[in-house]
Amino acid sequence: MKKFTMLFVCLVMLGVHIVNAQQKTITGTVTSSEDGMSLPGVSVAVKGTTVGTITNINGQYSLSVPADAQALVFSFVGMTTVEQAIGGRAVIDVVLEPEVFGVDEVVITAFGISREKKAVTYQTETVSGDNLRSAQSTDVSTGLVGKVAGLQVNIQDNGVKPNSQILLRGLRSISANNEALVVIDGSIASAAALNDMNPNDIESVNTLKGATAAALYGSNAGNGALIVTTKKGKKSERFTAGILHSTTFEKVAYMPDFQTEHGTGWDGEYNNIENTNWGPRFDGQVRQIGPTFADGSFQAVPYAPVKDNVKDFFNTGSTMQNTAYFTGGDETGSFYMSVGNQNTKGIVPDDVYKKNTFRVNANKLMGKVELAANVAFSTDDLDVVGNTIGDQDRPLYWFLLNTPANIPLTSYKDWDNPESYGYADNYYNAFYQNPYWAIGTNRNNVKSNRLVANLSASWDILDNLNFVTRASVNTVSNRGKNWRARQTYDPVLQPYHSTVSSFVEDTESEATTYNADALLQSEFKLTEDIGLKAIAGTNVNTYQYNYSYIRANNLSIEGFYDISNGTGQLEGVVDASQRRSVGFFGDLTFDFRKWVYLNLTGRQDYVSTLAKGNNGYFYPSVSASFILSDAISALNDMPFLEMFKVFGSNSTVYNDLAPYRINERYTQGRTGFPFPFGAINGFETATTAVDADIQKEKLNSTEVGTNISLFKGRLNFEATYFNTITTNLITTTTPSFASGASSYLTNIGKLTNNGIELSIGGTVIKSGDFKWDVDFNYYTATTVVDEIKAGITETSVESYTAGYGTFAIVGEVFPQIKAVSYVRDPQGRIVVDAGTGNPVVGPLKIMGQTTPKHTLSFNTQLHYKGFTFSTTMDYRTGHVYYAQGSDQMEFTGRSMESVMGDRKDFVWPNSVIETSPGVYVENTSIPITGGKMDFWQNQYNVIKENYVKDASAFKIRELSLNYTLPKNLLDNTGFISKVTLGFVARNVLTIFPKEKYIFSDPEFRNTRSSDAANGIGIGGYFAPPPTRSFGFSVNVEF
């Protein structure tokens, strides 16, 4: 505390040091060309000296200048700098033009601290709200894809409320969270809060790509940050009201590649009740499917493929979004208000999602204090098919994959009608239920409310001393109800189906983050050449989480889903956790003639999750930037060079431990089948053993880069090299189970993350009404596991017993897929068994990294008069994924592979036989065994290497064409000020250049709570197939 006071006093004293020299006085007013309003805070300086002042609140200035002064330079962030020759004038009024592609643009950095772009000593990149919204994405994450170098947004499913993962510069930790911190209006929020926002409320999203940029956030800084700024009314802006509507339609873009040669059957024989496609070759004859009814009748269909029988199960989805907004302001305050709603119908029948958003942003200047409140409230309602369907608790897609090629699936919609073939007892499939039945009898409903409120006060204590304090809350509450109806079967018609039991689950959860900051900022000159921007601050953060779950089984009253309806014991869980931290930080930015910037930051954090006395950590960073174009006169004189900056930085941050993890705790006994038995209760030690000396995970990040701006900002080039070394990784390692623990939480190993980002962007053509902007981004990042622990060369991240999983392996890129492989000879030919002719099942083998080696994205906008055409596309390559769905299709005989041998025994192509150890002879005669079926199900399917696919994908993510009506057309109406019409399309095209057969989008993965967040690369079959969408938008302003 003492240090803090000292610093405060120092800052105040230093601030009083004001430059003083005089001979002649010039006065004037500076206004903006945009609205004609006066501009306060404009820097007015005598050219070639450090003599200067800034304009007052009314835009007026008064400056004493030396007699020999030649000219005045007027500069203001976001405006073009203007130079005026003095020429004996005593009054010089100036109009400043806004700068469109300014190198002087202001960047909002950590804690809402705004900096001139050239003073920024690390790489940041801003996406404007308009760019984000160009294709009317319903959530912000989707809108960010492909727009920032180094930002990887993985859209993990295409549900009506998609899950996404936001990674900056790859991965740095094996077990800890690798997702970027989300900050909304200066306060720590969450990725979920970001996606609950109405995208129309966003002014900009600035990405702080590295840990140095985010270092002030302490333990939350390691993964970089997205700094989201919401719209504010502009001061002295006239009252504007607008409405924005968009409607988009969504269709399945592509299905897995299915074989269409064989249908219902088993082991080559036709079978009328099978879920599998192991029947004979299609012959077009009408055959029985399903049971024979009491009257001797049965359903009969041609034994021929039904085109798109699975694809046609999916509907055309739709999304309607409406936003009404109001904005305006006077000299002392402004406001922005919006009300929005979204109504989405999914491609899965009956899947719906509704969202309502409300936002009020207001600020008011009272004397020297400005108060601001940014408050957003949102509610949503998700109603989708459950994902524990049938007696095997399977997801919906499973039932579709178990639909043979000759089944007219869409004819089974009438599942509730006992007269229909879709009815449970009459359904053709003896093993899996009708997916339409699934939709009607398994529902999962989640409603949530979220409040993100942010209050701040900013006080200009002195001209160059400002105090800001902020308090924010981000709270979400969820209420879920998941139920399944009971289904019994007629034992004669459906002898193989067992009763599907009923249940109802009620969940409630609440997550709240409280955050409070106080910052004291000052900016002044230490000497004529050296300036200092000094910031001291404190931050207090509390996170609370509560969860409760209660489940009743075997319900008494049909169709009544309440806990009271259950029989037997209720099942339930209550969980709560809390984490707190207190931090103090300082940030000093020195500049030498605004050519060189040196930024030092430090934060001391105290956290609740570590042992007392050992819970304080210091997070330092040092960074510098050098504006070569200003410093070196030769460069300064180059007319085309606007700015040439180089920068470098280093920082150390730590990842925190989760709450309560420092101690081993007991849980109620018996995994999966909890105690008590009557009066006998039981507890057991956790499955995870904890290292008694567990500490924080350390990340040391270094970054060097350059920003070059040419031709008055029309061409910009940015390049960055970054490196993060993570040590003391807090990792749940796999010990010997004989230790009595299945996992061991400890600090191990070392990861090195390296990468490069390159961006080239600018205005290629600007001529009259025509303007063409392009933006290329390239990004590569690899994270290599340098060491794990003595004697351990790998640790599992997400493993499946079936022979594949994601791993951290020493010497390899993280994460890495391993899968049961073929055995190959030195020439790479597949070794087959001399007896059976079947490929020999090999060991688990390293198959490749799951994060892209190279990511290339391209954005462009073409403007012509009122038209704007924009598109975003990207290409990710150099990585693999595991197609879990393809794996599942082998059993059912629906895969393309299962027909490659024409369901006969054939000699495995390019195979060899090992005649004696190390001696391989080409196999030309011994065919595989069981090619009719058994081979595929029990040999081919065991070799999981078959399902590791190249994830390279080129995607046209967004396409939009907007037309803004000319103003003169609207003048006649008298009240309409702007009309924009747009056509939008998303995920227009996806090309997989390296795979013949695909199952689904490589970005998709299972996102159940049991799936490890860092287990990237296991592509599940829980999400429906990928979609493309297209639609239109209308924006009218009054």
């Binding site: 803090f4 020297k368 204090v369 006080w459 002898p495 193989y496 067992s498 039991s501 106080a518 089984n553 075997n554 037997g568 014991q569 099942e571 709560a576 956790s577 931290s581 207190v582 609740s608 570590l610 007392k612 819970n615 709450p659 309560y660 101690n663 081993e664 705790r665 007991y666 849980t667 006994g669 018996r670 995994t671 999966g672 089948f673 909890p674 105690f675 038995f677 006998i680 209760n681 039981g682 057991e684 030690t685 499955t687 053993a689 904890v690 008694a692 390692t733 796999t734 010990p735 010997s736 189970f737 004989a738 230790s739 009595g740 623990a741 299945s742 400890t746 351990i792 060369t793 640790t795």
Partner: protein, 488 residues
């Protein structure tokens, strides 16, 4: 404005002053950091029952390898078993779960003070019980350094024989601890939380002696006679004898979700009365039905359900048609599927008698092997809710390996009867005996198995050890030829 100036330092001061308390929120409200042994013991015991009797548990494996169980038409659930596909994932749970569940809890009991001596001794006895099974399945295993959790994440492998020797020592020590604790006023009694013997420490001593006998019988052929005799003398001197009832884990199983007996939950009916798929999938082999029918054995209809059209089994690994559908074949019977609330057997009285019979046959320990043999068969009948009179009728038949007098090879008779007595209950014991003695003779191999390799004699070290204990894991022994030390 001035107000703010005053409020600000106040707020900051508050933050810093209360920092200590403010950050003191790291106590988990949902999970305790410590609990007393009476809450640990029942979990360990219920896990022991799960380990033994759950789906793909120890007993299940035994029934597959010993040709007791097969598969009805329409299922392909037991291919791995029928192929004897002994690889790193085959029944890996028998390694993994032993350490992670029951043994973890019995080890946890060791940390308490002397007032909990009874709990410690129970933990020691149960550890010995489990570690013997692990040695019988795997041979060398982590033992002396095992169960140390974070302190030793990669325990070394110990010699199987050395482990056996220590188990005997530990059992003797456990008995001594119980006897010493009985004289201490501070000793905390064990109560209903002991879901095996309800705190009856005499029964624990008997159980310790019985486990010790199982060890000594198993290793009889490979240990010096003096060692065996000395240890038998210790049992005799101790004086409590062996178990007198089937040893059951009975926490109060009931017909509730997650509260059913684990064997019932695997092979019986769910809470709503719906048949579990495994019940349909699992049925008798024709061989075992023939065996029990040839020699009239009342146990047949208790071990296997009688279909309307009479008993029908499926030979292991044979592809069969619809006439072998679940409703037409002999599924698991009512003598071993007694109800959702039945206790879970972990050591049968019948086996105890057969162990005594074998030791008596070896060296005259305890008296006449014929009496133990008859008692074993009778206990087997009684386990299946048949009568001693029915057992007597059965034994009166003059077949070899039925009537004692008619059995030319007494050991074969004992081990063959043990095969029937452990059917569906603790069949892994029969497998261990088979590896050791080759009885019962003429037991068929699965049709899917490689006849050249024969029946496996052990399990392979599990995949978890390959990833978690690479530095210590020995080379995988041959599962078909590399017998556990006591069978060499």
């Amino acid at each position: 404005m001035k107000k703010i100036i005053f409020i600000l330092p106040l707020v900051l001061a508050l933050f810093t002053m209360s920092c200590e308390d403010f950050l003191d929120v790291n106590t988990d409200p949902n999970n305790p950091v410590s609990v007393t042994p009476d809450l640990i013991l029942p979990v360990g015991q219920v896990y022991t029952a799960d380990y033994y009797q759950e789906d793909r548990g120890l007993n299940h494996l035994g029934n597959m390898i010993m040709y007791n169980w097969s598969e009805s038409y329409g299922f392909s659930w037991y291919d791995d078993e029928f192929k004897y596909l002994v690889n790193t994932t085959f029944y890996a749970r028998l390694f993994d779960k032993a350490y992670l569940q029951p043994l973890k809890l019995y080890q946890d009991l060791q940390k308490f003070g002397d007032e909990y001596a009874y709990y410690k001794a129970i933990g020691m006895i149960m550890k010995a019980y489990h570690f013997q099974i692990l040695v019988d399945l795997y041979g060398d295993i982590p033992y002396f350094d095992a169960l140390q959790r974070g302190t030793n994440a990669t325990p070394v492998y110990d010699d199987a024989q050395a482990i056996y020797d220590d188990l005997v020592v530990q059992l003797t020590n456990a008995i001594a601890i119980i006897k010493a604790a009985a004289d201490e006023a501070t000793t905390i009694a064990v109560g209903a939380d002991d879901v095996m013997f309800e705190g009856d420490m005499d029964k624990w001593i008997q159980f310790a002696n019985t486990v010790k006998l199982r060890i000594l019988v198993r290793e009889y052929a490979v240990k010096p006679a003096t060692y065996i005799n000395d240890e038998l003398a210790v049992i005799i001197a101790e004086g409590s004898g062996f178990i007198t009832k089937d040893v059951m884990v009975q926490p109060g199983y009931m017909n509730e979700v997650n509260k059913q007996n684990p064997f019932w939950a695997e092979l019986g009916w769910d809470v709503s009365g719906t048949v579990i798929m495994s019940n349909d999938a699992t049925c008798a082999t024709q061989y075992v039905l023939d065996y029990l029918t040839g020699i009239v054995d009342a146990r047949r209809d208790r071990l296997y359900e009688t279909p309307d059209d009479g008993h029908k089994g499926v030979e292991q690994g044979l592809e069969v048609g619809k006439e072998f559908s679940a409703n037409l074949v002999s599924n698991i019977g009512p003598g071993i599927l007694k109800g959702a609330d039945m206790g879970a057997n972990i050591f049968s009285l019948a086996e105890c008698y057969f162990l005594q019979a074998e030791m008596a046959l070896n060296n005259g320990f305890g008296g006449d092997p014929a009496l133990f043999y008859a008692a074993g068969v009778t206990a087997s009948f009684e386990y299946l809710d048949l009568t001693a009179a029915q057992a007597a009728t059965y034994l009166a038949q003059t077949y070899a390996n039925v009537g004692w007098a008619n059995s030319p090879n007494k050991l074969e008779a004992i081990i063959t009867q043990k095969w029937i007595a452990t059917n569906g209950i603790s069949a892994e014991q029969s497998w261990f005996d088979y590896t050791r003695t080759g009885y019962p003779l003429n037991l068929p191999l699965s049709a899917m198995a490689d006849p050249l390799k024969g029946r496996p004699v052990r399990l392979a070290y599990p995949a978890s050890e390959i990833t978690g204990n690479t530095i210590n894991l020995p080379e995988q022994p041959n599962a078909f030829t590399s017998k556990i030390f006591w069978a060499n």
